[in-house]
């Protein structure tokens, strides 16, 4: 149990995917202009990341390992993730139209979100079990959510600020991200035993 809490807190705070590990920067900068879109994107990421962590683990254990095809991990994982995203989209559309309505437009973007492939690969690197992988995927998604929500709040404020011409748009967002990232460095000393 303690181990799981360690994974959970570690992935959310200590090695936050976006602000410490630089995974998923594209959506972090791209859809963080408004709190609403940020929440929608994060919801989709948490959902898909948890699923894909579990599925890629199964693919690796029962498909790649027995045939010694581990060198195809990257290729296999990205295809699995792409297919999974498509599958989730179809299922949601049929079974849960309200959820599809709120997450639908973000789903196609997730295939190219490096947080998803990143957590699949990190799971393999750290040799987590199936359950640990799923928890890690879920926690990584939560960490992404936390970063995105905090940052969208910062950016909504930035909109009304008087910013030098050449810093408008992306540059000032990056500088703001740097400050948000500094706050997360405070968690670096946190050790969960």
């Amino acid at each position: 149990m303690k181990e799981l809490i360690g994974i959970l807190l570690g992935a959310i705070f200590i090695e936050n995917f976006v602000l410490v590990k630089f995974l998923g920067i594209c959506p972090f900068l791209g859809v963080s202009k408004k709190l609403g879109t940020a929440l929608g994107m994060s919801g989709a990421v948490v959902f898909v990341n948890t699923l894909s962590s579990a599925v890629t683990w199964l693919v690796n254990e029962y498909l790649l390992k027995p045939y010694e095809l581990e060198y195809l991990q990257t290729l296999a994982f990205i295809l699995v993730i792409a297919a999974l995203v498509q599958f989730v989209e179809i299922v949601l559309k049929k079974m849960l139209p309200p959820l599809y309505k709120s997450l639908g437009i973000y789903l196609p973007l997730i295939t190219t979100n490096c947080a998803v492939l990143g957590s699949a690969l990190l799971n393999m690197e750290r040799e987590y079990t199936l359950f640990q992988s799923s928890v890690f995927g879920f926690a990584a998604g939560l960490g992404f959510t936390l970063a995105l929500v905090i940052f969208s709040g910062v950016r909504e404020r930035l909109e009304t600020c008087d910013i030098p011409e050449s810093f408008k748009g992306m540059p000032i967002a990056l500088v703001a991200a740097s400050l948000v990232s500094i706050t997360f460095m405070g968690f670096a000393g946190l050790v969960v035993k």
């Binding site: 602000l19 060198y71 437009i105 190219t112 011409e165 500088v175 991200a177 460095m185």
Partner: protein, 224 residues
């Protein structure tokens, strides 16, 4: 891109005018994550350039037979193939660099630059032009992350390419090689490029407004 493109223009486009990192704002993750050392930046840049050229050539050669609906999975498969080649070559010949770059090598698969060039250029042009475009974009990417890496290494460690270059009384600011430094250097550098190319920036930026990244599907989010 209906008009015929001059080969030289296809090549030089990526250097400055459409620099993938600093102007099109593509592929931010690796640009931030591995630029703690100038050396790493070169390694990552070359790896990405190789993948870019390879995938651009292959995709533009088969562009006529790819059904439009499944083009993204096809692109991703081609790119993943080249990334696997790079991964194996690196593990065999450059184990040290491979260790440094870690999971960011396989993550080249989801680097927006590569998929965006496939979508924006390779599907509309022949293999020869696409190869040049890949090379140009690769050089632009490598150059940009090399600059970021140099700045961060210099300020964060007081070295450049592993050599000590600063005077003794300069105390390196470790924060520059940590996460916040990456965001900061990148932001200032983009602002600088904007400043220098004032007036001309409109067209490049208009294309990616809202979602700075040219990742496929972004338009959908922005449209809604």
């Amino acid at each position: 891109m209906a008009e015929k493109m001059k080969p030289i223009k296809a090549l030089t486009n990526g250097f400055i005018k459409e620099n993938p990192t600093l102007r099109l704002l593509l592929g931010m993750c690796p640009s931030l994550a591995i630029t703690t050392l100038a050396q790493n930046a070169i390694g990552m840049g070359l790896a990405a350039t190789f993948v870019l050229i390879g995938s651009n050539v292959v995709i533009s050669s088969i562009r006529k037979i790819i059904p439009d609906k499944v083009r993204i999975p096809v692109f991703v498969t081609v790119i993943a193939g080249f990334v696997t080649i790079v991964q194996m070559l690196m593990a065999a010949y450059l184990p040290e660099l491979n260790k440094q770059l870690g999971i960011y090598i396989p993550l080249i698969v989801v680097n927006c630059i590569i998929i965006a060039r496939a979508e924006m250029f390779a599907v509309k042009n022949g293999p020869w032009l696409s190869a040049l475009d890949g090379l140009g974009m690769g050089i632009g990417f490598t150059g940009a992350i090399f600059i970021i890496g140099s700045v961060r290494e210099l300020l964060g460690q007081g070295t450049w390419m592993g050599m000590k270059v600063t005077v003794d009384w300069f105390d390196p600011a470790t924060i520059m090689i940590m996460a916040p430094g990456g965001f900061l250097v990148m932001g200032v550098l983009i602002a600088l490029v904007n400043k220098l190319s004032k007036g001309k920036k409109k067209d490049a930026e208009a294309e990616h407004q809202g979602c700075a990244m040219g990742c496929p599907g972004c338009e959908k989010v922005n449209a809604s």
